[in-house]
């Protein structure tokens, strides 16, 4: 009965201001939260995919994953045991080792062939076809104990359908460089 509110009356103007501020903060905070929670997944995904090509002219050596990569040779033909309408392709690269910690730099090393349509081929074992003398595949190179300044030949064998052989280009992806990968121009005929 005799109770009198000791609190000052709330100014409606100030309340409206607060409310507006809150809404505005929400508009900023929500996207920020989304970005924060998805950051790790997005980063992991980017580091696992060869998404952005870096084109390399034939004969050019490009630093990639701490070493210099140059396309040495790309050759294809009918050899070994192959399905119909298929070609065996051997791609080799000359690599000048810069950072010798290949286990870290070359983690998830992937040699690929890509064609004009964007299709990709990973290495295949072909009975009767082997790499040229002295060449090794990616996994072998990682554990080869190559030192700084060494020049090694890295390559692999692929099975490619007839219709893609004309436009294939070799490519290299390394764990330390993803999402970027190297795509080499074919050697001139």
């Amino acid at each position: 009965m005799s109770a009198v509110s000791t609190e000052p009356a709330v100014d409606p103007q100030a309340e409206r201001k607060w409310r507006r501020g809150g809404l505005l903060a929400l508009a900023i905070l929500l996207p920020l939260t989304l970005a924060e929670t998805s950051y790790d997944s997005v980063r992991e995904w980017l580091h696992g995919e060869d998404l952005i090509a870096r084109d390399v002219e034939f004969g050019q050596s490009v630093p990639f994953g701490g070493s210099g990569w140059k396309l040495a040779d790309l050759r294809g033909g009918k050899a070994g045991r192959l399905p119909d309408h298929a070609f065996a392709v051997i791609a080799t690269f000359t690599v000048t080792i810069g950072d010798p910690d290949l286990r870290k730099q070359w983690l998830g090393c992937k040699l690929m062939l890509t064609d004009a349509a964007g299709r990709r081929w990973l290495p295949d074992f072909i009975s009767g076809v082997s790499l040229p003398e002295g060449a090794m595949n990616c996994a072998q190179a990682i554990f080869s104990g190559a030192r700084k300044g060494d020049v090694i030949t890295v390559g692999d064998t692929f099975i490619v359908p007839e219709d893609a052989v004309k436009t294939i280009r070799p490519a290299v992806g390394l764990g330390s460089e993803r999402p970027w990968y190297l795509r080499f121009q074919r050697p001139p005929k």
Binding site: G118, R119, D124, I159, V160, P161, D163
Partner: protein
Amino acid sequence: MRIRVLGNLAVLCATVALSYGMQVTKPHYADLTAPIPIDGAMNDTVRARSFAVRLDKVIFARQLKASQFGQEKLLTTSGLWVVATTSLTATGASTAVADGTWQGPTGLRYHQTERLGYRQDMPPHGVDPGLDKRGLFVFEVPSDQIRGARLLIAARQFGPLDAQARISLDALPTGADGQPSDILPEFDLDAAPGQTSQGQTPQGKT
């Protein structure tokens, strides 16, 4: 006063009913993240996300002969052996197709057999774009699970939200009792291509 209490009660009941309704009709998490089926028929090319598959042939047999570590093995079963011959190819990039399931007419799922060990023509099948590859999927199923069955092929066994080819097997000839009309007493896996279908091994048109 009375009306307000009744009103509040009504609102409460409505809320409870709505919440309960939402709870019971909520899709199962396992369904939400299930593989996405892509339907097709036998001898059709079914295009999944990372691979395409065509079911060429289904053979039923009472016993299966296979060589394992250089030893000839005769595998028996309480049901039937099903040997599904498929033609596989990758769509965009070289990949592997590893999972086959025989889904019976009532939805029972018979996963590919684990009794054959590693073989070249058994999953996982490494596939390349533009190249057809013959791949086998072998199942053990009771004979009443054949009519109305479907073959499910996926890249991986647990592939949430990935594509799964679902091939209906209505074209398989079955007798009045639901049994397949042609059951071999014994099928030799190692003689498979030569014995039955060599020379007409399907190759993709390029």
